[in-house]
């Protein structure tokens, strides 16, 4: 466990020493504050559009941080050859994968806390309404979803050699699931066989990341997800994380270390 934590500590240090997060945060803050400062028809009651834009930017930023940070971890270790002194210590490849995963996931969590804190302050100051529990639930579900994304990108990073191709492919897949995942069963019903069975199979196979997107519930002040549903969704995400991490290990254990 100490080894895993030590490796994850390096990933977190990397996140806050690189400029990526700061650039994304400043961009999110500037656009949100700019949109929030505009007065449409001298109306001061509208707040949902600010929430909508802020949450959209937070989602994009979080995905960019998660995918960007994770995609370069193992390839950078191989390219810079730091994987050699690391594995020459009593460290197994499984621990390297777990350490990288934990580091990226925790780093995403830290970034999310900062982003949601900003969101909470902006929306609360306009709305004069502080649904903290709702924000915490949304943050938790968002973070859990990013865990699946991080594990998936980690698998991509041992399959694809170039981090850029891995990042592009995984970004498209994740966006595809977020936009289409919910409707694949409807799409399947409109297809002839055997395509119908294939699409339906895909619908049951993919991790349904769109569940964790509860932005609408926050924007429109709806009752949030119940504890039991939240716990079940977390369990579902943990299973997919385990699947992707195991897949990563199966590929990585036989992989030559040098690029």
């Amino acid at each position: 466990m100490k080894t895993v934590l030590a490796i994850s500590g390096i990933v977190i240090k990397e996140l806050y020493r690189r400029k990526d997060f700061y650039v994304l945060f400043v961009l999110t803050a500037v656009i949100t504050l700019l949109m929030g400062s505009v007065s449409f028809f001298h109306d001061t009651n509208s707040v949902r559009y600010v929430k909508d834009i802020a949450l959209l930017l937070i989602w994009i930023s979080a995905l960019v941080i998660a995918i960007g940070t994770t995609a370069r971890q193992i390839p950078a270790e191989r390219e810079n050859r730091t994987i050699f002194p690391l594995l020459a210590k009593p460290v197994t490849r499984w621990q390297v994968i777990l350490g990288k995963f934990a580091g990226c996931w925790l780093a995403c969590g830290l970034a999310l806390i900062v982003l949601y804190l900003f969101f909470g302050i902006v929306s609360g100051s306009r709305d004069h309404h502080w649904p903290l529990l709702n924000f915490c639930t949304a943050l938790w579900l968002h973070w859990v979803m990013l865990g699946v994304v991080v594990a998936f990108v980690l698998l991509g990073s041992v399959v694809f050699t170039a981090p850029s191709s891995n990042a592009t492919i995984t970004f498209i897949v994740v966006l595809g699931i977020l936009f289409l995942g919910r409707y694949l069963n409807q799409v399947a019903l409109q297809q002839p066989e055997p395509l119908r069975s294939i699409v339906y199979g895909l619908y049951f196979l993919i991790p349904h990341l769109e569940w964790y997107d509860v932005r609408d519930l926050i924007i429109y002040d709806q009752n949030l997800v119940g504890w039991m549903d939240c716990a079940l969704a977390t369990l579902y995400a943990v299973i997919y994380m385990a699947v992707f991490l195991l897949g990563t290990w199966l590929v990585f254990r036989r992989k030559a270390l040098n690029l």
């Binding site: 505009v38 449409f40 028809f41 001298h42 109306d43 009651n45 509208s46 707040v47 949902r48 559009y49 909508d52 579900l141 919910r182 409707y183 069963n185 409807q186 799409v187 619908y203 049951f204 349904h208 769109e210 569940w211 964790y212 997107d213 509860v214 609408d216 519930l217 924007i219 429109y220 709806q222 997800v225 119940g226 549903d229 079940l232 969704a233």
Partner: protein, 289 residues
């Protein structure tokens, strides 16, 4: 001198650049007028911004429904027009809309059933203080596509509903400046003058112009916009009736009969007006005696 060389070259290049810019400035304005615009979105996106305008208009509709909205996969169930955005409860457009928005059937499988805990599943409309939430999206839509007429009419409806009459007038005038041929905007502007400013003369002038514009654009069409004709003509007929110009009112009601969903009601109104017209004026009777 050797040390100064690169700086002199840099100075020379900058001078050449500035000189060339003065020559090119005039020519460039012939190629594109994008840079001349005072609209940042136009400068940034060019005409491509119109693509986003519809997205923001739909976003206003989504906001109106507090997030309960069919996706592109429920396209068949999607609201076919925007009448529900300005329809009052009990109106036929509102009832039809209620049926259209019943797109969430029973869940097909456990994934869909569980997924419904994370989305909005109830059909509601904005009310109370939240009514203004559609406005930012409509304003953005108009900024992106000033030629999208429905943006102005829908926004004017909501602004009037919120009691922001001045803002509604200003926005409709902005829309009219961008679309001087639009009878839809004129119809809304006339309503505003009549219902809120009680300026009958101005309202009549505007609706007259609206009717003219409709005739110029729609009369020759195979499928003219009869609904709008109905609305313009009925409003105008009402004004003419108030002014005692019954013949003109009858003429206008006859005009909108072809587009009305209830022609029999209109016919009844026409008959009443005809009777009024045929009857001698009340002040003339004692004189005759």
């Amino acid at each position: 001198m050797r040390k100064l060389g690169p700086y002199l070259i840099l100075l020379l290049l900058l001078t050449a650049g500035f000189s060339l810019a003065t020559v090119l400035q005039e020519r460039v304005s012939g190629w594109s007028n994008r840079g001349d615009s005072d609209n940042v979105l136009k400068v940034l996106l060019g005409d491509g911004r119109r693509l986003f305008a519809n997205h923001f208009f739909v976003q206003a509709d989504i906001s109106f429904h507090s997030g309960y909205y069919p996706s592109i996969f429920d396209q068949a169930n999607r609201p076919k027009d925007n009448r529900h955005l300005t329809a009052k409860e009990g109106e036929p457009a509102a009832e039809e809309h209620e049926k259209q928005m019943n797109f969430l059937g029973p869940p097909r499988d456990w994934i869909e059933r569980f997924g419904r805990h994370f989305i909005i599943t109830g059909h509601t409309h904005l009310e109370g203080n939240n009514r203004s939430e559609v406005l930012p999206w409509l304003k953005l839509s108009a900024e992106l596509d000033p030629q999208k007429i429905e943006t102005y009419t829908v926004a004017a409806y909501w602004l009037r509903d919120l009691g922001k009459i001045k803002e509604a007038e200003r926005f409709l005038r902005e829309g009219f400046l961008n679309n001087p041929e639009s009878y839809e905007i004129l119809l809304e502007l006339g309503r505003l003058y009549y219902e809120h400013n009680h300026d009958v003369a101005r309202a009549r002038k505007i609706w007259d112009l609206a009717l003219r514009r409709w005739s110029e654009q729609e009369a020759a069409n195979k499928q003219p916009d009869l609904l709008k004709l109905d609305q313009i003509a009925v409003n105008l007929a009402h004004l003419e009736e108030q002014e005692g110009k019954l013949a003109r009112a009858i003429q206008l009601l006859e005009l909108c009969k072809k587009g009305s969903p209830h022609p029999e009601a209109l016919q009844k109104q026409i008959d009443e007006l005809k009777q009024k017209l045929a009857a001698p004026p009340p002040s003339a009777a004692p004189e005759a005696r």
